[in-house]
Symmetry: C2
Subunit: 216 residues, 2 copies
């Protein structure tokens, strides 16, 4: 009986920790939506979450670690939203183009989202593990032409992360999402004609709204 | 006469500031060469430079700002080393390929250099101004096919920065520099045949040593 209580108590502790961590991530997310990421302090976050400052440091080493967790959360949840639309596509190159353009459209529509997501890399270059794994699988189904699928993955990730950063900072005078997707497709080995054909067959307008429609 | 003295005194002050700043950058550079960038503290830097801690903060807001300055210095001085070899090339695409492969080879030969250089972005996304300007000029001489030269610049920068990061972390099992350069050339609009032709005409082996030879 004592044993059962101990197990249950450990469980409650674990659940509470998960809840508190989620509260901190949620609080940071709310603050980032309201003002510049740079201006948010640990004090702001604990006040918003309604927890003690010491609690913050039992969950995160630093504000940067929390920002990375927020970014991971933003990217993962958007990626999950894409899955129904993505898995309905059978052609690997079209699947890659679909994912890339959805992320670019999302970043275009929400520069705050893009800025926070781009920070993920700085704090954790191997983040977005599910995303990377799925992208690698698609790349392995493309032609075996060099570079290797492993290197193609890094090329796509490099372009996409930089685009999120650029869109997060809003520093390009004009931006053509299709041109970026085409550049990505060509970098991973498609010809101009093949890239054009993929773009033509992409489900129209990858805005957040239409993605929700695709996903539902 | 008093006026001249004041001017001279201001000059001496300026020179001293420039010297102290350079001392701090040099000290950090020495420390980064010896051990992991993450393990270096402000105390280590001031001790190595032989200056007071307060002096550090008159020159840099934080250790990150100093790391960015070190990175900027590393990248700029390597870029300057490349200029003689680069300006001898008249074809824009070949010039771009020359620069990219030289940076990749440098990163392959010196992962510490790559790791520090990659940090530049995190701290200052618009860094490497000379490099960006020159690259943009070359891109403007390529075909006017979309994406715009401005967007092509960000695509090249995105791939290159990510490659520096990846090589700095040493996390790819194999790495083919030519395959990356080819991917870059195709992303900015060259066909596979054109990219192959450029690679064939690239001055052989862009190792640091041969670059020094080219530059001298």
């Amino acid at each position: 009986m004592a044993n059962v209580n101990l197990i249950r108590r450990a469980e409650i502790g674990r659940e509470k920790r998960v809840r508190t961590r989620a509260q901190l991530v949620e609080a940071a997310n709310t603050l980032f939506a309201r003002r510049a990421v740079e201006s948010v302090t640990v004090d702001d976050v604990v006040q918003e979450a309604g927890v003690a400052k010491g609690t913050f440091y039992t969950h995160f080493d630093s504000l940067e670690a929390l920002t990375a967790a927020v970014a991971e959360e933003l990217v993962q949840s958007f990626d999950e939203l894409l899955q129904p639309g993505r898995t309905a596509i059978t052609e690997p190159a079209l699947r890659i183009a679909f994912g890339c353009r959805a992320f670019i459209d999302k970043a275009l529509n929400d520069s705050r989202w893009a800025a926070v997501a781009a920070r993920m890399t700085a704090a954790n270059p191997q983040s977005g593990e599910n995303l990377r794994r799925r992208l690698l699988e698609d790349l392995q189904h493309l032609s075996a032409e060099p570079p290797s699928a492993e290197l193609k993955l890094e090329i796509v990730v490099g372009i996409m992360l930089h685009m999120l950063r650029v869109l997060g900072e809003g520093r390009l005078s004009s931006f053509d999402p299709d041109a970026v997707v085409s550049a990505i497709l060509r970098a991973i080995g498609l010809s101009l004609q093949e890239a054009r054909s993929v773009l033509k067959r992409l489900p129209a307008a990858g805005t957040e709204k239409s993605l929700r429609t695709t996903a539902s």
